[in-house]
């Protein structure tokens, strides 16, 4: 009994009031849920960015055609068959590192598909949790968004 008490006291002294890092886990909140035409996470990265006004972080992925093109061409004339996918997450503080922010809940996933030269690229947008396809009736805004995505240059990776 005495030993037990002593052990409990020691444990209280040593074990309890120390802070510990959050245990290892996958970034569950950032998981993409919903029916998407492609899985962008299976693709390679073109580049990534954040937006300091909306506190979001985005990763631009591409299928093989898109990535090969973006890494070797400064222009925006992606070949037919190229698909770009932009995943945008809300940012959250990294529980492990003061000084870092990491992806929180997914906000949108956008796809730009290049069909044949001369034809305007197809644009699809998915939003929310789970990700559900949204439609827009504003062709000018869509065209601007497509141009924005196509004009992102590849991150330099020597």
């Amino acid at each position: 009994m005495k030993h037990l008490l002593l052990a409990a006291a020691l444990f209280a002294l040593i074990g309890c009031n120390t802070t510990k890092p959050e245990p290892a886990s996958i970034n569950q909140q950032a998981t993409l849920a919903g029916q998407l035409p492609y899985n962008p996470l299976a693709w390679r990265v073109v580049t990534s960015w954040t937006n300091q006004n909306s506190h979001t972080m985005s990763t631009l992925y591409g299928n093989d055609l898109a990535v090969e093109y973006a890494r070797t061409n400064a222009g925006h004339e992606y070949p037919a068959g190229a698909v770009l996918a932009l995943v945008t997450w809300q940012q959250r503080d990294d529980p492990h590192w003061f000084g870092a922010r990491i992806p929180g809940a997914p906000q949108t996933v956008e796809f730009v598909t290049i069909s044949s030269p001369g034809q305007s690229p197809a644009y699809e947008r998915y939003q929310g949790s789970p990700l559900i396809r949204t439609t827009t009736s504003d062709p000018t805004a869509t065209a601007q968004r497509v141009e924005y995505l196509l004009s992102q240059r590849a991150a330099v990776m020597p």
Binding site: K20, P21, P23, A24, I26, T50, A74, R101
Partner: protein
Amino acid sequence: MSSRSSTRLLMFLVLAGFLGLVVMQCVRPPLENPPVTADLQAPPEVKRILRNSCYGCHSNETKLPWFDQVAPAYWLVTHDVKEARRHLNFSEIGKLPAAQQKAALYEAVNFVQLGEMPLHSYTLVHPDAKVSPEDLAVLKNYLHPPAPAPAPDDAVKTAADTQYDKWIHASSAALTVQPALNGITYFPDYKNWKVIATTDRFDNNTLRVISGNDVAIRAIAEHHINPWPDGTVFAKIAWAKQVEANGDVRSGAFIQVEFMIKDSQKYAATKGWGYARWRGMDLKPYGKDANFANECVSCHSPVRGNDYVYTFPLAGQLGGSR
């Protein structure tokens, strides 16, 4: 008879122990306080916290209480103080470039937040040295005060543009990259690995992408990430932040790529992971000598319970498309 001899034995042991303790006091590695040459410049409320919780070991102003002056405690304390000063010395921190000072302070605050510092063995005998949540908030606010979002910077943009133009027009001929100083060879394929995380670092003004080789991706799919299996390799790629007028912060100039390679046997000396880092567009191996990896291990130590990995990986890379 037998009780008498055991009393004698006990007395002998006590005497021997006492004598041993006395003899121990003669062995005193010196612990001096060198002059304070470049003390940390910080507001008084920040200095108060650091003085109270860190300066005991991480400065040239060590004052040992009597119970730390007695060997063998003295030996332990002397060793700890020397080790502490080598890692971070607030009395000399002013000599470092501003960016390195900032990095050291961020690391210190994170070590406090992760429960790594002050050392548990220290706070047991010096309970006043514990950093309260309020004090931790003061330190964080000092390092990262509320501030308006940064504006675009022409020099940053020019540097990124120049680098990009050179890179995008370069021939695809592979660069010859020297091995790291610990013998680890470069992994040119890191750019084709799947992404497991992105980080936005306001402590050092970089954006990062972390990619993982096939072993890493399979481990994530199987939720087998603590410990990670041998053969796992991560690449962490860092770029300078490039602020645009619309609030986008792009991946600007490439800074470095660094790797963690899991092999519990081969890299046992660095806790099961090999570390390597190549900097700049010429991919120059980082460090002065093969011991550079000690820096990496030391910084990753607070997450030893997570197999020394800070990252919370994204899952779903192996999910089908359509």
